[in-house]
């Protein structure tokens, strides 16, 4: 059992209610995206970043890349969030999916280490060979944005 779709992690939803995640683009928390092979099992029950079955390859560092968030906004009655596309350059990588996680959560009210945010399923293995590997986030609108609260 490997990847089975895109998931907003259940623990993340709970942590939002504890005020553990700050997505402000300039002063918020640090969010990272780690890539995983098809052997990884990541789903809604994933609670934190782990190195098991994380990708290894040229110009990929364990832990993944640091994301650049775009300030949260709203459209109609939906609040939404976007990230800038993430690229690993000159990389030789094969990945089936990814995990977005927070490396600097607010732990005032809840104990957390690298808590999971969202699991991404690429739908199949994606490979770059001595090239660029880019994760392209969806359009930041009320119907497609990667994180939405309706």
């Amino acid at each position: 059992m490997a990847f089975s779709g895109n998931f907003m992690c259940t623990s993340f939803k709970k942590e939002l209610l504890y005020g553990a995640h700050d997505f402000d683009a300039s002063s918020g928390d640090t969010f990272k995206i780690a890539l995983y092979t098809s052997s990884a099992t990541l789903n809604a029950a994933t609670t934190a970043y782990a190195t098991t079955n994380e990708v290894s390859g040229t110009n990929y560092t364990a832990g993944g890349g640091t994301l650049t968030p775009v300030d949260p906004t709203s459209s109609g009655t939906t609040a939404l969030l976007d990230f800038v596309d993430e690229t690993w350059s000159s990389a030789t990588i094969t990945a089936r999916g990814a995990l977005i996680y927070n490396t600097t959560p607010n732990t005032t009210s809840i104990s957390l280490t690298n808590p999971a945010v969202i699991v991404l399923d690429f739908g199949g293995d994606k490979t770059s060979t001595a090239g660029d590997f880019t994760v392209v986030f969806p359009t930041a609108d009320a119907s497609n944005a990667i994180i939405r609260i309706a």
Binding site: D132, F133, T134, A140, N144, A150
Partner: protein
């Protein structure tokens, strides 16, 4: 929240773009950029959809032009840095790319 009771997110799609033995071209990056700037719904009024597609086409041309300019300008910077470092042959190679 945008999910079902199982926590699955049904409506967003993350794309992965990769290259082999090269980087992305200005045309490939401009496509991504245009998609960030303008999204055209299949359900939109046909007249508005046609107008939006026309706008996107013009936007794409402009993006490609300026991305090529940026690449050329950056090559000039790299050329000068390599020349200053005494790597004249490598500098010439970069300029010919």
């Amino acid at each position: 929240m945008n999910d079902s009771g199982l926590g699955k997110v049904p409506t967003f799609k993350v794309d992965v773009h990769t290259t082999n033995g090269r980087g992305f071209t200005p045309e490939e990056i401009a496509e991504r950029c245009a998609n960030k700037i303008i999204a055209i719904s299949d359900d939109a009024n046909p007249a508005i959809r046609a107008q939006a597609h026309a706008f996107r086409g013009e936007l794409l041309k402009t993006l490609v032009f300026y991305m090529r300019e940026a690449v050329k300008s950056d090559r000039t910077t790299v050329y000068n840095a390599l020349t200053d470092a005494g790597q004249t042959e490598l500098a010439k190679y970069i300029r010919r790319l």
